[in-house]
Symmetry: C2
Subunit: 217 residues, 2 copies
């Protein structure tokens, strides 16, 4: 049943979810919150929705780049290189970003008569991003249910999967990951050295995928 609204960034996790749950997603929502890589992510998100004939809306949240502090945002400090671990990635946290995106998704779902909102947070993000953890997902689900007339629910089926698990799903779905964008630096090609590029490459390698993505390094 097509009763879900998916938060779709255009990166490998949410694009995998889009294909994985294409028969349940009635609407996809991408947020332009002023990150360095938003523009390239959005182009990927739009392309996949067109291909699957799933309606797609881009929501501008320009105030985040203006008022929030994060190395992920335009005008913020430099994106860290190196491994994808808590200490290294802390500066890339955009405070309560998933809470904000899920709240907008909940309001729009209720407005459109949809019953579920979906997000592609996964286990690899738990250490760095508090708003990707199971405790957050559980509490946010309760808030969304209590705060809407129709009791909209939050469905986050990748919460306990690793990025490699997601890559395995994508492999089975025959997704070409060079048509997704992950790099926090936002260049024409993936930089290959920021923590997100490293994490993505490793997951695709571990899943035995022939990665056609062009990396600068």
């Amino acid at each position: 049943m097509k009763d879900a609204l998916l938060v779709l960034s255009g990166g490998m996790d949410s694009v995998t979810m889009l294909y994985d749950y294409q028969h349940e997603v009635a609407l996809a929502l991408t947020f332009d919150y002023g990150s360095r890589h938003n523009e390239r992510e959005i182009a990927c998100a739009r392309m996949h929705c067109q291909r699957l004939a799933i309606p797609h809306i881009v929501i501008p949240l320009s105030f985040m780049a203006q008022y929030f502090r994060s190395s992920l945002l335009q005008g913020g400090p430099a994106v860290p290189t190196g491994d994808y671990n808590e200490q290294n990635m802390r500066s890339t946290v955009v405070p309560f970003r998933n809470g904000i995106m899920l709240s907008v998704a909940a309001g729009l779902a209720e407005s459109e008569g949809l019953r579920r909102i979906m997000i592609a947070n996964h286990a690899g993000d738990h250490a760095v991003y508090p708003d990707c953890r199971p405790q957050f997902v559980e509490a946010m689900n309760a808030a969304v249910q209590a705060g809407t007339y129709e009791g909209v629910t939050l469905f986050a089926p990748y919460t306990n999967l690793t990025k490699t698990d997601i890559a395995h799903r994508g492999k089975a779905l025959d997704i070409d990951y060079s048509e997704t964008y992950s790099c926090y630096n936002g260049g024409a090609h993936h930089c290959g050295v920021c923590a997100t590029c490293r994490e993505r490459r490793q997951a695709l390698h571990d899943a035995g995928i022939d990665d056609k993505t062009r990396y600068d390094k």
Copy 2:
């Protein structure tokens, strides 16, 4: 201790909270979400913050009027007149509005190093607005705590007060309520007949306040 960020609409409830908790509020946040009465509310919010020397930010959420359905929003159906009860007011619900505003407030609070977010929901709103109820406040508090590094908390001290209770507080604080704006129709003066005007007038009357607000009817 000034460690709180207050969601301030410019209406009587949140303006009362601003004065009531002026020694705890470090920053006030008003949302321009495209309601018919946003412009006049924002002017009131700004004026009170200037008077109390509390920093104030206006956050545009223009996508809400574009995509959400509500009689409160510009371009929506007519605002209902009559009593402030569930059936009559249902069309004025802006889906998950408080969830959206509190999520942005949580992100900005974490970004600014503030520990608490505040909102002036009250008991009179429980029947009509799901995102004003104690269950929502409790769940949202858990979501905000789990989803932020510093465990930002939600403080909603008017949750179980009536609007008349709030008016009593305002009376003690010597607030001139003609310097707040409530009317859902958004005219130069309060219409006096929409449900919000009725509710406000009644509360001020019940608290024994000499209401200097100009009502058209």
